[in-house]
Symmetry: C2
Subunit: 427 residues, 2 copies
């Protein structure tokens, strides 16, 4: 099976001045990898005609497929259409469908078309056009030295919109035209929290050994670990089937450390578990300062199960708003099992929620002691049966890292407990 090599060329002065980080190149590379196309080069250059022409021509010579982003805007700096047109010895022309779309949008908004705008709906004559469902400049494809060059706009939303609207299928077509046997792919990303990459890798050791065309890939997206399972087969149904077979074994091995798949989030998983149980939660936050509430309310519709909470940063607030006994704080300190238990119990009782999670810790850089060094965090969980659990964590790292781990750990404890209480159904 010959490998299809691709180059990604991203254009823009703002890239070369470091004003923006090139997320388009990484995003496209990941999509191409998923389509069994190997990105061997990624190149960025400024909005300079000779450099762009040089980059496009070299990419076409050394790779089987070229994707570009940028240089399709309305200003005179936007040169991609002109440079590509010259490379394929044609002239830029207006794409009628894109012009109509732009006209309709401008009319609706009451804007006037300026000559500048006309620049945005041009493509090199004879190019294959990819409609832009979320912007004005269409994508297009030409062939240079037998190599397809596909040009996309720079705004990430538009580039992604064009990919979703059918470019993905075209890329498979191009890959197969290059002699790569038809390969279909089933894939799923499993999201893991509370287990480091090396432990996840150990737990999944050998998982894919007996499965034809299957491979495992790991990626750390702090504070989570992502496991990507890919199964390739000429037949989509066979690929899907083998992925399904791996799925059960993978879930069994990762158990409750795996909380969701693909674009899921831990807060959404918590929301689903609470909704399924018809229950509510409230939070009592000290060192996280509101981060757990913020994560929970990132999810649309969270008012169905999240009531609110108390940010008890000062000890006086732990007493006043949560009813923590001054003697507990005095005897055990604010960062202790006793305190987070009292915080959680007080929070649950006062807000009238089914569950309450409480967090208190030393995020640093100051405030650590020999017994309770920076990075010490206690999490407490109260539920319908009283205090469910208290747990001490110790994390290395800076303030931001410790706080983020604390917020995720609290959500993780809540999720597992609600799931178990609800009968422990698999996710």
């Amino acid at each position: 099976m010959p490998v299809v090599f691709a180059e990604i060329v991203t254009i823009g002065d703002e890239l070369c001045r470091g004003e923006i980080v090139d997320t388009n190149a990484a995003w496209l590379a990941e999509r191409l990898w998923d389509l069994d196309i190997t990105v061997s080069w990624m190149t960025s250059c400024r909005d300079e005609q000779p450099d762009m022409a040089d980059a496009f021509a070299r990419a076409a010579r050394r790779c089987d497929l070229v994707l570009t982003s940028g240089g399709l805007g309305p200003t005179v700096d936007d040169l991609t259409v002109d440079v590509i047109a010259e490379l394929v010895d044609t002239a830029p022309e207006v794409d009628q469908a894109s012009l109509d779309f732009m006209r309709a949008r401008f009319e609706k908004a009451g804007f006037e078309l300026t000559p500048n705008n006309m620049r945005q709906v041009r493509v090199p004559g004879g190019a294959r056009v990819f409609d832009n469902p979320v912007g004005l400049a269409p994508g297009f494809e030409v062939t240079v030295a037998d190599t397809p060059i596909i040009c996309l706009p720079g705004p990430p939303r538009e580039l992604r919109g064009i990919m979703a609207a059918g470019l993905g299928d075209r890329l498979i077509e191009l890959r197969e035209a290059r002699g790569e046997a038809a390969v279909r792919m089933a894939k799923r990303i499993y999201r893991v929290f509370g287990m480091g990459e090396s432990h996840v890798a150990t737990a999944l050791d050998g998982l894919c050994d007996q499965v034809e065309g299957a491979s495992l890939h790991f990626q750390v997206k702090f504070p989570e670990t992502l496991v990507k399972v890919v199964v390739r087969d000429p037949d989509q149904a066979h690929a899907d089937e083998r992925l399904g077979a791996i799925d059960g074994e993978l879930r069994a091995r990762l158990r409750d450390k795996m909380y969701g798949t693909d674009d899921d989030s831990l807060a959404r998983a918590v929301g689903r578990a609470l909704s399924a149980a018809g229950q509510t939660v409230a939070v009592a936050e000290s060192c996280t300062g509101g981060m757990i509430g913020s994560l929970l309310t990132d999810v649309a519709g969270s008012s169905a199960y999240f009531l609110g909470g108390v940010i008890a940063y000062a000890n006086a607030e732990k007493e006043r708003a949560l009813g923590v006994d001054a003697a507990i704080l005095e005897e055990h300190g604010a960062v202790s099992a006793e305190t987070v238990a009292a915080m959680a119990a007080g929070c649950r009782e006062r807000l009238g929620s089914d569950w309450a999670i409480a967090v208190s810790g030393i995020a640093g850089p100051d405030g650590g002691t020999e017994v309770k060094p920076v990075g010490t965090v206690w999490v407490g969980l109260a539920g319908p049966d009283g205090i469910e659990s208290t747990r001490r964590f110790m994390w290395p790292g800076d303030r931001e890292r410790v706080r983020r781990l604390a917020a995720f750990a609290a959500l993780g404890m809540l999720l597992r407990t609600v799931d178990r209480a609800g009968g422990g159904e698999p996710r």
Copy 2:
């Protein structure tokens, strides 16, 4: 003054698979721009010997200076030292100082040196070495076809550490050796919230026109706008002086929309203002769900002025925890001037803080009405003299965007009010 052109080459399979976004290239490009070196190309390739050799040689041919990152780790995939050594026709050799440093670190940690580790402290024979203050692999510099190539490790912390430890000075030396007249630079970044890029640009129109060697640059870092002022002069003192002269006029024009400089944050500026006034704050959050508290407590030492707050997501909590009158909620709704005023007043009174900020809004995607569409947010501020202000905002955009803008707007209102109450001293 001849322009010095540079290429940045970043190495790694993980880049070409899109598993990580290339922040090193952008970071280096920004540093080089600051040093008056123009990045004209950025190239990434896989950990493949022929591709790497090709990339390095081409970069040396077409640019005056090359910086690379990656490929300096301990595994057999890490090939940068070998490829560069071959290019300059020398052999890799162990750098004694780096070896001693690694030995000392390993001994302290009780680790044993493995042959793999020795790979990391090699450099091409005859190379100039840059010590790595935060990692094991040193950076180094060789010359290929009269072009300096400077190789740095891939971990961002290490790359930045080497730059801070003296590579910056070396780059100025190299720039000047290339015939660029000695140029020194004074620069400052001004951080603006609550004013869009185009308004900032208009407000600063002509600011630098009469100032020799001065230029203005804008960058959007949502939800903020950054203004970078750069003044170039052969003499550092002259550059500093002219930057100082611009500084006053710039602050006067941006007034209280400019909250800080360089690496500052809005939450830190709030903390400084409160600390200076010897005052405290508490928060009452509905749609932001704890985000304001989370931003405030991101700052080390925030316990000096932040007491805590109430996440009043459910209306019942607005009544119970903040004492908002049910009649107010009934009559005006949860998203109203009356409700946020009552939330702020109740929060301030119950927590005993000098200031309290309250936020209630419709972050979407659901919950909007014709009168109060998605994106409507009310912010209320209570202080020593009672309710200071309530203000309605209307933002387009998704849930995440609206919530983030709401949290920043609340902090911005607080900062300006505390500053004014404290005598309005310039920041």
